[in-house]
């Protein structure tokens, strides 16, 4: 029972940690990593709480949701990475630059 909350809290921790990293790092690759960590945190909250009742088998719906989420995450990561590369090629920088203002 307590393990459930332990993992759920861990999920929250990962989420906030990822958020922190996302904000403070400029490097795009790090940002992408941070987003992934955040995602894992959220998944952890979902799944951990699904195992709430030790007597019954865990709720499969959050599991399915997380699997969906993982696939979504990898798709997004793939797109993000290639976009990052393109940005790097185009600007020579691997962080975002604000160049829309004349």
């Amino acid at each position: 029972m307590s393990g459930v909350f332990l993992y759920a809290l861990l999920g929250v921790g990962l989420f906030v940690l990822g958020l922190y990293a996302l904000i403070i790092h400029a490097h795009l690759l790090r940002k992408i990593l941070a987003i992934n960590v955040m995602g894992t945190g959220v998944f952890l909250v979902l799944v951990a709480l699904a195992a709430g009742n030790p007597d019954a088998p865990p709720d499969p719906v959050p599991h399915a949701m997380v699997i969906t989420g993982i696939v979504v995450a990898v798709s997004a990561t793939a797109l993000a990475l290639i976009l990052m590369l393109k940005v790097s090629v185009a600007t020579g920088k691997n962080h975002l630059s604000d160049s829309t203002r004349d």
Partner: protein
């Protein structure tokens, strides 16, 4: 300069404390959850019979909440489209892999394919399923590409696109076909539900594998601005 650093430090401190507060609040909220009424587990269990598969997660993924999965296939396709639209098809010029990788890949790839097949099949009643199988297949593809294998350009056209699209396509087709035979959308009648799910999963596995491999490949654009 030092001022900047100071303000930067102060800002960071502020951020940390803010995030700590958020974490604390979220933690409090999570701890406050009463888990006495469990989610849909029992409901899933009760309807498992009608789903056509015996493994609850697969049942949820492909039957109860199959629509999510359908859209998820769409997400994969969009990611692929995005990657392709950014760089087009990747370049074929690649340094040759080392001998270790070469041998390893010769050994690993057939095994991975086997694993994928197994996962797909077992998914109906035990952990496993299309995504896991697909990703294993994808891993095999990645390995093959690391080993220098490239898709023959003859297959890079329509055929490749068909493979990429097939996962989503078959899913949509089958679901819509249900509509046409008088069921609801995505409503698999129990007698053939298992078969249909397997069909969808099989095609999806192949498609997912191909897509994941293509995503990997696509992440290697040519250097320099491409027009």
């Amino acid at each position: 300069m030092t001022d900047n650093r100071k303000t930067g430090k102060a800002l960071r401190l502020l951020l940390v404390s803010l995030l700590c507060a958020i974490a604390a609040w979220l933690g409090y909220a999570v701890l406050g959850l009463s888990l006495s009424h469990v989610g849909l587990g029992q409901l899933v269990g009760a309807n498992l019979e009608a789903s056509g598969v015996s493994h609850p997660v697969t049942a949820v993924l492909l039957n109860f909440r199959g629509y999510d999965t359908l859209l998820e296939m769409g997400v994969l396709l969009v990611a692929l489209l995005g990657v392709w639209s950014l760089g087009g098809m990747p370049d074929y010029d690649e340094s040759s892999p080392g001998p270790v990788l070469d041998i390893l890949s010769r050994l690993l790839i057939p095994m991975l394919m086997l694993v994928a097949g197994y996962l797909l099949w077992v998914g109906a009643h035990a952990p496993g399923g299309a995504f896991q199988a697909g990703s294993v297949l994808g891993a095999a593809g990645v390995l093959m590409m690391l080993a220098g294998w490239r898709l023959d350009s003859r297959f890079a056209g329509l055929l490749l696109r068909v493979v990429m699209v097939s996962g989503l396509g078959v899913f949509v087709m089958v679901s819509t076909a249900m509509l046409l035979i008088g069921n609801g959308f995505l409503e698999f009648s129990p007698p053939m539900a298992g078969e249909l799910i397997l069909l969808i999963e099989a095609v999806a596995t192949m498609s997912i594998g191909a897509t994941l491999a293509a995503l990997f490949l696509g992440s290697r654009p040519a250097v320099g601005p491409d027009k």
